[in-house]
């Protein structure tokens, strides 16, 4: 089994602390959004450091699963003090930041991005007491293309040689694609039937920053709000559609789902389509228009009679 050396996380932690303390001391920023260790070993949670003292508590470890871009979106307005903000961002989080900038939710000038050299984080079900390895690394990290951050203000830490992991999610996607529609329907029906509409997928998503979610509306009601199979399916379809062309692929929706619904497969399927059809990929550079906000006159229309 391939294990990733823990040392690289320690070097990131050290660099984050140093940088955060400097930024806060020099009052370059009003706050640093980062991670602190949790009470239980192998856990961490997001935190907003507002003083050099707070900065000393910041960490980076395989438990730092959250996409902190969430805390800069309007959905979480108010918890980060006004003024310039620094944020600790993994490669996958950077794409979300770029997306939020592209959607006029953030200004790059108001940010100091501390990009971390990230070897990967734990999967939701992974054993947290062991070092990060093939056995407990998150699916998204297995196919990560952005271990080293780009376009950031500071890069924290350096990466060790990373092993090649089995792309389990890509394989799962291929498996589903190979199914008949009936089989896929059965697959999703089973998963969606377990959904309890806790909305963790929505609340944790950096792009679900609407003040009023379409699915909370009841006049007219586009999606049934009660957690029944019919409404659940509709909710997840609407969610995937609203994220199509915007999703940064951080897979936080899937990680936070208490019912283990493989939500990122929906997002990935959409991303795959948008890449094939329109050569669009979520990246670290903010783009003026997403793939579904623009068109080409010669777009494919083979499906239209």
């Amino acid at each position: 089994m391939t294990t990733i050396n823990q040392n690289c996380y320690d070097s990131v932690t050290e660099a984050i602390r140093r940088e955060a303390a400097k930024l806060l001391q020099e009052q370059t920023v009003a706050a640093v959004v980062g991670y602190v260790a949790g009470r239980r070993p192998g856990t961490a949670s997001p935190a907003v450091a507002k003083s050099a003292e707070d900065a000393e508590k910041l960490v980076f470890s395989p438990a730092c699963v959250n996409n902190l871009a969430l805390f800069l979106s309007k959905a979480k307005k108010g918890i980060v003090p006004k003024g310039k903000t620094a944020i600790v961002a993994k490669g996958c989080d950077l794409r979300a930041l770029a997306g939020l900038i592209g959607e006029s939710q953030l200004n790059r000038e108001d940010l100091v991005v501390i990009g971390v050299a990230c070897a990967g984080v734990f999967s939701a079900a992974g054993e947290r007491s062991l070092p990060l390895s093939d056995a407990n690394i998150a699916a998204k990290c297995r196919e990560c293309t952005i271990h080293t951050p780009e376009g950031v203000d500071v890069v924290a830490g350096t990466l060790p040689q990373l092993p090649d992991f089995d792309p389990v999610e890509a394989k799962e996607l291929a498996r589903l694609e190979a199914m008949t529609p009936q089989e896929r329907w059965a697959f999703w029906k089973e998963h969606f039937s377990r959904c309890i509409r806790c909305m963790a997928c929505r609340q944790i998503c950096p792009f679900c920053y609407c003040e009023q979610c379409l699915c909370d509306r009841n006049r007219p009601q586009a999606v049934e709000s009660s957690p029944r199979p019919a409404g659940n399916l509709a909710w997840h379809i609407v969610r995937a559609m609203h994220l199509a062309g915007r999703c940064a692929g951080c897979a936080e929706c899937e990680r936070s789902c208490p019912m283990d619904i493989p939500l990122n497969l929906l997002n990935r399927r959409m991303a795959q389509e948008l890449k094939e059809q329109y050569q669009y990929e979520a990246g670290t550079t903010p783009q003026e228009k997403g793939p579904l906000n623009q068109y080409r006159e010669d777009d494919d229309q083979s499906f239209i009679k």
Binding site: P46, A47, F71, A75, C198, R202, Q203, I204, Q221
Partner: protein, 334 residues
Amino acid sequence: MTFAISQTNLRLLVDQLIQDGIFVVGPRRSGSMVLYEPLSKGEALTLDALPRRSAKELFFPVCEDILTYERVEGKMAVRDVDRAHYPETVLVGAPPCDAASPAILDSVFSWDYLDDFYLERRKKTTIIGMGCTRGDDACFCSAVGLAPDSVAGSDLFLTPLPGDEYACQVITEKGRSLTADYPGLFHEQSPVDPLPAPKQEMKQLNLERIKNWLDTHFDDPLWEKFADICAGCGACAFVCPACHCFDINDEGSSEKGTRRKHWDACGFGKFTNHASGHNPRDVQNKRYRNRIMHKFKYYNDKFGKTLCTGCGRCVRACPVGIDIAGILAEIDAK
């Protein structure tokens, strides 16, 4: 001598109950996790993991219909759900943290308004609790006054013994009649030491002291610290065995439809949102404060009970890592 049942017979018991037209619910593998679900045979019973959701949904479903309505010839015809049709039910294999919760919830569902939906199901259900031998660093039942071997809430309580046996304690009349109905499956056995209970990291909390602090700290900067990062989902409440807030929705058109009751969570932005648009709990930390207050102060004030069984599900489920046990310990230390 101790009253006991073997693992094989426990499963046989399930089979026989089903045969006798009893609705049996127990932990069962469902996809990647274990959930409380109706059992179709004893073999399906899965006792090696804590179910992802609590057993409360047996009495308080995720979503249930209250009534249906339809306009017929200009008049609205309303049809209620007939509660008499709820089946006789046995919940089998609930650990103390799940078995204890109905007893706690009885208070609120039978207070000024008698919630027949809950109470009728509750009346028809027998709970076979089971001593807990697993547990992880999120568990804190002993910190809130329960224990891995607590019989609270169970009608019949099984304690795992070495060698595929369960010591069987009859707690209530319901439990007694269950053992009486299936005498052949139980046997007598000389007393042995039960399997050891899991060690818990959390030390016992002083719930009184915590309540005292809560009584006087409705406004406190700590709330921001605890819960500013709360993402506003309902994962904690929905996996919790004790959370019982619900919302009622009419679904359908103005002509016909269904009124449905479904779980609500204090984490949601729309929770206690007034029709005017004003929300007294306007930011996330105030909503989280309500969660703590409700569990450790308001419920206590009203019913003298704590609305938490220490199952640790919310600690595991929270997508941003909010840790209620840690927060309680911090309050306790004040």
